[in-house]
Symmetry: C2
Subunit: 245 residues, 2 copies
């Protein structure tokens, strides 16, 4: 499993992903699931992956190879004129990888499935954020749904739904994401630290700020330790029900 979130704030884009992959609870590993491409002053793009690791690695490798060998016919996301076109290239690549595996005998092609969150900005347009399905189609965030989650989305969703505000600061967004991830990590062994964070400031067209929270990161530990008390005091603020028992 995996847990990854991309959100679009008024100030830019924020991405977070875990790094645990597993084939059963007795076979877990650490693999990054956050990839980014940057041409300073022109474009910056980030990709989060969830699903079959062979599929997502093949997909990312194909995208990366194309950016390095622009002479090849296949289109490169570094040359796409818009974020929409870049998303189409990624979606097409994902679909090709899945189809290729599915065609070699394996019937249950769901085993090869993967879902991606892709966001960034290309000069001349606003930042955009997409959710790409294994079928090769995709949707974009809207005002009503300003973030996308992939992987094990349920545990961490209520806090995002309740507390997300597109006007929030980057620091607030990071805090919100860490709480959402901490809730998920506590509940599902197949999601785990280190956590990768990427913050992209709108219109900067720069690489963005990337950092990693290790399992023993002091800030992550503080959030995890104090959130329980904060929740309890939030519950205490709510009025009690009057019942006679």
């Amino acid at each position: 499993m995996t847990y990854a979130v991309g959100m679009r704030l008024n100030r830019g884009l924020v991405f977070m992903s875990d790094t645990r992959t597993n084939a059963g609870v007795d076979n877990i590993s650490t693999f990054g699931k956050m990839f980014s491409w940057n041409v300073p002053g022109d474009r910056t793009m980030t990709l989060l992956t969830a699903g079959n690791l062979a599929t997502t690695q093949a997909c990312v490798s194909m995208l990366a190879e194309r950016t390095k060998a622009p002479a090849e016919r296949a289109p490169s996301i570094l040359e796409a004129p818009t974020m929409f076109q870049a998303a189409r290239i990624i979606a097409q690549t994902l679909k090709e990888v899945i189809d290729e595996n599915a065609a070699t005998g394996q019937r249950a092609d769901s085993a090869f499935h993967a879902t991606l969150v892709f966001g960034g900005q290309i000069k001349g347009g606003p930042s955009r954020l997409f959710l790409i399905y294994p079928e090769g189609n995709f949707i974009e965030v809207g005002l009503e749904t300003p973030f996308f989650q992939i992987g094990e989305t349920k545990y961490g969703r209520p806090i995002l739904v309740r507390a997300f505000d597109p006007d929030m600061s980057v620091a607030q967004a990071v805090k919100l994401l860490l709480v959402s991830f901490d809730s998920t990590i506590k509940a599902n062994l197949s999601v785990g630290a280190p956590l990768d964070l990427m913050v992209y400031e709108e219109d900067s067209l720069s690489e963005g700020h990337r950092m990693r929270f290790e399992a023993d990161d002091p800030y992550l530990a503080t959030i995890s330790a104090t959130w329980g008390d904060a929740l309890k005091s939030a519950l205490d603020q709510l009025p009690d029900l009057e019942i006679d028992t």
Copy 2:
């Protein structure tokens, strides 16, 4: 789907269940999933059901018929000497119902599956709380896991894990449950109000306090409306991360 929770507090047992059943999003109905039996001064028992409605209704009907016709050979939960024996009877009944349906041609017997939470107290013993599996076996709450969830458990779990305290008052427990249910209802259409509540005070051996929260219940509405703000202020209490972007 369904969402139901049974929890064991030091003060007694608290149960909550939703009432929505669905066969696709275009076919939803309201059915109670909370059943109780009481012999004042001797025993009180509550059952929560999740899963195939035909299975759970058949199971509850068989249990109820046996309590009304004690001359029948089949054992009645009203005559079981202990909660453990009562749980065995229910588990056996559940397994029989599922086996009966599964034997009539349907291969995918998972379609008939159901899971139950069963708790109560019989004179001479403490209150006990069990989670009964479709296979006919069951587990009991322990100090480390003092509550059981069935159905759509993920959305509402983080708040329970964080804020549950066996020492909490009934009013606090009801508040906690309503927040957990509200988070689930907001995320999954197949869970919905009215919500049934049952509060049993330890050693009372009385019927317990049962009430229903309709979708427009003012207390439920207050909890739902104020929880978002309470969460935001809880997040604000946490320290910000210092990052340079």
